[in-house]
């Protein structure tokens, strides 16, 4: 994979996506069928659980119109792994109020096999 930041932005856009069908299609495009996603408070496996996980985050943070997720465009990678940071930005003043880190282990087809998420603040 060459465009790591582009891939990270596609991933982040799923978390901002308002349309459930589009979100679902993007999950299928980005994640392997049996992908795992571990965050500090969540452990989900497969497209169905990912769709619920990401929809819940959308409802909590993005849908009220107060926040949006942004990649920090600092993705680096080697072999089948990549990492990057993202922020949750408050719409009213552009302040980044939460910062996280994801490490992806990619499957042979380039989709995410494992998504290890950390929230730094």
């Amino acid at each position: 994979m060459t465009d790591l930041n582009g891939f990270a932005r596609q991933y982040i856009e799923v978390w901002n996506e308002p349309d459930a069908d589009v979100r679902r299609a993007s999950i299928a495009k980005l994640f392997a069928e049996d992908a795992v996603h571990f965050s500090p408070s969540q452990e989900v496996r497969g497209h169905d659980e990912l769709a619920v996980r990401i929809e819940n985050a959308y409802r909590q943070w993005v849908e009220p119109g107060e926040h949006v997720f942004r990649s920090q465009d600092n993705a680096t990678g080697h072999h089948n792994v990549m990492r990057f940071n993202w922020g949750m930005v408050r719409q009213s003043d552009g302040e980044t109020i939460s910062v996280g880190f994801d490490l992806f282990v990619l499957a042979e087809d380039g989709r995410i096999q494992a998504d290890y998420q950390f929230v730094d603040r």
């Binding site: 452990e43 990678g77 080697h78 072999h79 792994v81 990492r83 490490l103 290890y116 950390f118």
Partner: protein, 169 residues
Amino acid sequence: MGIVPRFNEIADRYIAMFNEPDDGVRRRRVEELFTEDAVYIMFNNYPFVGHDAIFKQVTVSHRIYVPLGFRFASSHNAVGHHNLVRFGWVLLSADTGDADMMGSDVLVLAPDDRVSADYQFHDRVSSVPYDRLRPVDELFGDVLNADELARYREAFANVGRWRGAVASD
């Protein structure tokens, strides 16, 4: 899946393995820390799979840097959840105390709390003049086979080609 205790302790053990001067003790540390089929993936190298391969790479790192007065140190910022541990580390110069190399790792732990996958990223590559080290046969001849020696010989001779790449393959 339970909470993994003592994230910084795991990071400390990982770092101590790189600083361990005794080959036999370092080998035991590898076996204590990693599962038999563990994978260790860093940039600019093929994935190291299993105790033998990981021991060789840790030994190469030790023998490059420690005799030059460097030591590895954890950044003591380890965090974790589920079976994951993430932490930063530095390679410190004994002369200046400055960090000559920096990076971070995400470790995936097996049910027995040993590492089954180690995903390593470099944020700063060492300034060590790899192309002016002692010959690789002298440094690693007792540990690496001929193919492995040739690989490091080539990598060290062409340090300018990969030093700028940092975390990119």
